[in-house]
């Protein structure tokens, strides 16, 4: 029985291989373009957009729900965060990334504005008593607005752009065969054909059988060369994009947070952030410098093709087989210096009498340390989802009545389309802002964010 099955299996395998080969053979009734596409399907060349990589929520870098992969690629994004936690109940984030080619060609400036649904600060709501509802009704959506501007350099060491790595890409592709020589041979054959043959012409329009056969054979050879070249180029660009997506990002910025005094004091802050990933191009080049540095593998203007091929195979192996070429695990460190304005809040117009008014707030300075870890979830059933865990610790330096604050968040964000992401966050804070008390707060935030990539068809 098994003896009969083995030859049958071998026969079926051979038939399958033969069928594939026949499908790629061109006939005189094919047009030249149809013949070409038998080898080079246009659809097969499409790949995943990295500009639309799930970068989590665009929410404020000062908020607990954060991402370890800050997006400097989209032109514009917006987010709505509806929270059940007492602080920052509902907020809207608008986010622009603007080219800033004044230091290096590909640098970016990020502008963010956060509109938060204003809530009465706890230090005024208690003395307001029954007047709290009146005070709250006077607040508008412009009474708690923060504006952030940050700068992110893009060069060979930092940032997610291919532009600083063009020489490296070109080096990798020197190991790739170029089909131009085969194309030239087609042209040479057609130059001797009396008929005017275009890509839409059938081979059968070449009346001389010998010339027709030669052209078919040469188009097949060129198409096969292109197929090989294209497959290799796709692998190279995909791997390179993957590791560029994992390049570290460094950015620094300043925030001005305006608040109605009933909501809290105005604040000014400066913040520096460093993001890194273990599978970055920097990391790859450090350990493969001898075969991957174009400058070290060039002799008399000629590239060492063997080393370029070795570098390519190592890069493809290093990048892994993840599809799409999305960002890998990522860690972000940040430190922020914040200064809150000292003020005296007069509540007499809400019928509050001394000593409950004015409410005096001393100027405070604080240092906020943040650590965020994020990773994509490699589950086919929840495609293009990521999770980010963030921990913020605020050390308030010059107000002994204020307790240092600890905020942690776990954010799951699910990309539902190239432009839309749904984040869900669970946050924990050991107490609300601007209060010495230690009433712990646990909350859940739901949101939606929309981004316009720098290309494509995203509409807002």
């Amino acid at each position: 029985m098994s003896r009969a099955i083995k030859p049958l299996g071998a026969f079926l395998l051979m038939m399958a291989i033969a069928a594939g080969a026949i499908a790629q053979q061109c006939t005189p009734d094919d047009t030249i373009l149809v013949c070409w596409r038998k080898y080079n399907s246009v659809a097969a060349k499409t790949a995943q957009s990295v500009a639309t990589t799930n970068t989590g929520t665009p929410s404020a870098t000062t908020q607990a729900a954060a991402t370890a992969l800050r997006d400097f690629q989209s032109l514009f994004s917006a987010g709505i965060d509806a929270g059940t936690v007492v602080e920052n109940a509902t907020s809207v984030t608008l986010d622009w990334n603007i080219p800033f080619p004044f230091v290096e060609d590909n640098d970016r400036i990020k502008l963010q504005t956060f509109f938060t649904d204003p809530w009465l600060a706890a230090d005024v709501s208690t003395p307001l008593g029954s007047g709290a509802a009146t005070a709250k009704s006077q607040l508008t959506n412009f009474d708690d607005v923060a504006t952030l501007i940050s700068y992110s350099p893009v060069n060979q060491r930092f940032g997610r752009s291919i532009a600083p790595h063009i020489d490296f890409l070109r080096y990798l592709e020197t190991a790739n065969s170029d089909p131009a020589t085969q194309l030239q041979k087609i042209a040479q054959l057609l130059a001797d054909v009396p008929q005017t043959i275009l890509e839409g012409s059938k081979f059968s329009e070449i009346t001389d059988p010998a010339q027709q056969a030669a052209v078919i054979a040469q188009v097949e050879a060129a198409a096969a060369a292109e197929q090989k070249s294209s497959a290799r180029a796709t692998a190279i660009v995909k791997a390179l994009t993957q590791v560029i997506n994992n390049q570290p990002q460094i950015y620094a910025g300043g925030t001005y947070h305006y608040r109605n005094s009933l909501v809290g004091p105005d604040e000014v802050s400066v913040k520096g952030t460093f993001e890194l990933s273990p599978k970055s191009l920097n990391r790859f080049l450090q350990s493969n410098d001898s075969v991957c540095d174009p400058a070290k593998n060039m002799t008399s203007g000629k590239v060492n093709a063997a080393n370029a091929a070795t570098c390519t195979s190592r890069l493809v192996s290093f990048a892994g087989t993840a599809s799409p070429a999305t960002a890998s695990d990522r860690l972000a460190f940040a430190i922020e210096y914040k200064r809150a304005k000292g003020e005296s809040v007069d509540l007499t117009k809400f019928m509050v009498v001394p000593p409950n008014t004015p409410v005096v707030r001393p100027a405070t300075t604080s240092l906020i340390y943040s650590l965020t870890y994020g990773r994509p979830l490699p589950n086919a059933k929840i495609k293009d989802a990521r999770v980010d865990v963030a921990v913020n610790y605020t050390n308030i330096s010059n107000d002994p009545t204020m307790t240092n604050r600890f905020v942690a968040s776990l954010t799951f964000s699910q990309k539902v389309s190239d432009t839309m992401t749904l984040p869900l966050s669970i946050t924990y804070a050991n107490h609300t802002q601007y209060l010495p008390q230690t009433d712990r707060r646990l909350g859940v935030h739901f949101g939606v964010s929309y981004k316009i990539p720098n290309s494509g068809t995203g509409q807002y």
Partner: protein, 125 residues
């Protein structure tokens, strides 16, 4: 203007005509982007080859100022970087009268991908 097929044959061309190519990239708002690569590799009738790099093509154009009788093969690549700008390659022929009997554009806006274009130029004396 719709993109030409990824494989084109320009036939017949006459000796002395000119072949041009240039490349650029732009974001969806139309601002120029540098997050791309483009190149054209041209093999001439005698077998000698020219490489036109991004620096040659952008802003370009790069050209062969006088085509010779015979066949030319040109292989172009358009790489859209991680931010996914739309990379555009334009190639065209200028005849003796200054007209453009062949004029094509190709675009690639898929971030992190390389798109290939193959051009066969048939120059008949």
């Amino acid at each position: 203007m719709a993109d030409c097929p990824e494989f084109v044959i320009w036939n017949p061309l006459k000796p002395g005509w000119k072949f041009f190519a240039q490349a650029s990239a732009a974001t969806n708002t139309g601002t120029a982007s540098n997050d791309f690569d483009a190149s054209v590799h041209v093999v001439q009738p005698g077998g000698s080859a020219s490489d036109w790099t991004k620096a040659d093509l952008d802003p370009g154009p790069e050209s062969i100022d006088s085509l010779e009788a015979g066949g030319y093969g040109a292989s172009a690549r358009l790489v859209s970087g991680p931010s996914g700008p739309t990379v555009t390659l334009r190639a065209w022929i200028v005849d003796a009268a200054g007209a453009k009997p062949f004029d094509c554009t190709w675009t690639n806006s898929d971030a992190g991908t390389e798109f290939h274009v193959s051009i066969v130029l048939v120059v008949k004396a």
